[in-house]
Symmetry: C2
Subunit: 328 residues, 2 copies
């Protein structure tokens, strides 16, 4: 290992902390600094020593950072931060608002080109590894259908929706793939599945003292967009149970393609994840793609990229010769 | 769809026929000609019209073919054909003798560079898609272990070994992953598994009239390298049963990585295939990679490549914009 790539982290919530921990598993990468909107003096490192700075000072680190890993949210942080930072740094982010990716790509591409930097957008596991598998599967099996199942895992958006209901003190929502549907897809049947048939939603709710549980339940299961189209279970639990049983952030899912070759020969491709921690796994994906961005930028590439543009060989610290010898 | 890439097929066994059929599922690719060592006049098309020619005449087609898909075997065909044809054509092959890949790569690289062509070697599903998943998984989860299971599927080498035993008229061997081992790996336990614990070998044998079945069974289960290290079952069947129940070419398997992030958080990645026809699926992989080779050659790239060097976006007929919009 000759050279260490220098990595900056922007944002230090669960994802940023996950990136910090993941960097320690990769000997060819080193943390340069962590940038935050909070007071740097108030920050505590999740693991080992770390230099904290304010995002406003990021430009001062321009010559000391090869790639910035942006760990903010897709709703308001990344739409602003990625184009801004791409003017000065190569970047990696996990922008995951699927419908807005084309527009986001164009804005980041323009900023990165103007700044002479390289920006990989929308990586992680979905978008990211699941997207790669959807693309691979339909490219190899053009005749067929692809299904994506998510879970069992916490949906932040749905959990937030529960917490906004009057009388709800706290709550968490799990998206659960329906095993019977997964099995039908795996069997090669290629069923047309309604929303309700693919996933169910499990809610664990802490009610405020004296709140009407029946009306909370009704408010959840009939909520349009979030729950009305699903079979939803609501279980009332205590604060202690919420802390004890529901503070992890597991997630996962499957991408399954059932296709045909020749005269109707059935072929099945499946990619699955079972994640003990969604943010830590997402962080590990971002870190591997940061390595690829460092290498491609060194080759002189600029502009925006997605996972579809990056050869897997660049994700590994191993040389191409070693990869061919050990992993092909 | 503006332009159609022109594809040649070299070798017309099961794999070559699979490529022929797969081309018909891809509207942007068209078959130019099929090259064989046999008499072109004696050849029958597996599907639709086809021009047959002898391999010796391949050079005459130099300006009419964008990429040659080489469908010969790894033991003797490809080590000779790929370097020879790479001097005149861009190529895709499925060279699968893992131990000899580095040497094969060097020879093909030199030939392709000298000829100004691009050669993708060793694609298919293993080496190929399984290799990609091994690489992806260890790059994202550097702390962990990866297991590959194969089957249930026919092993040609082991079937041939059975057929060489005196008294055996015909036979087929299935490699079967041991479900208990797969489940231990999936559970995140990361067991150290002996060869015997990962796969078992099922043999279906047609004995010659009057042959001693006990000694055939003994010869199989004690055969070094092929069977001695495995639990092996031997079942004697009739010619009719062999034809009826064992003439398909199913295969498949799993690549599973169990890794840790942060302070020992378990993370699991799995890629699996369940293939109705091994040669037809392998052919479909070769065809998707042929599209990528056409595009990269058009960009001016030459030399040898492996799947580790090819971004997935190039495998699809869709434009980068369409891929970002529909599949990311």
């Amino acid at each position: 290992m000759n050279k260490k790539w220098k990595i900056g982290i922007v944002g230090y919530g669960n994802l940023g902390k996950g990136v910090h921990k993941a960097l320690r598993q990769n000997a060819d990468l080193e943390l340069a600094a962590i940038f935050t909107r909070r007071d740097p003096a108030s920050m505590e490192s999740a693991c080992g020593d770390a230099v904290f700075a304010t995002i406003a000072d990021a430009e001062l680190y321009r010559d000391r950072i090869d790639v910035m890993i942006l760990c903010g949210g897709s709703a308001s942080d990344l739409p602003e931060q990625t184009p801004m930072l791409a003017a000065a740094f190569s970047t990696v982010d996990s922008f995951d608002t699927h419908a807005r990716i084309p527009e986001f790509y164009e804005r980041v591409d323009a900023a990165a080109r103007a700044g002479g930097n390289l920006s990989l957008i929308s990586t992680g596991w979905d978008p990211g590894l699941f997207s790669l598998n959807r693309l691979l599967a339909e490219s190899i099996l053009p005749e067929g259908s692809t299904d994506t199942f998510w879970g069992t895992g916490v949906s932040q958006g749905h959990s937030d929706a529960i917490r906004r209901i009057p009388g709800v003190k706290a709550g968490v929502q799990y998206t659960v793939p329906i095993e019977a549907a997964v099995e039908r897809v795996r069997s090669g049947e290629r069923p047309e599945l309604a929303t309700r048939e693919k996933h169910l939603r499990q809610c664990f709710v802490v009610a405020e003292t004296g709140a009407d549980r029946a009306s909370i339940r009704e408010a959840i299961v009939t909520m349009p967009n979030y729950f009305a189209d699903y079979d939803t279970t609501v279980e009332f639990i205590t604060d202690e149970e919420l802390q004890r049983d529901h503070s992890g952030m597991p997630h996962g899912g499957f991408v399954i393609r059932s296709g045909s070759t020749g005269e109707g020969t059935g072929q099945l491709m499946e990619f699955g994840l079972k994640l003990g921690s969604n943010p830590e796994f997402t962080a590990s994906v971002l870190v591997a793609y940061a390595r690829a961005v460092c290498r491609l930028r060194e080759q002189g590439q600029t502009g925006a990229r997605t996972v579809f543009d990056i050869p897997f060989g660049l994700l590994s610290p191993k040389s191409p010769e070693q990869l061919r010898r050990e992993l092909l």
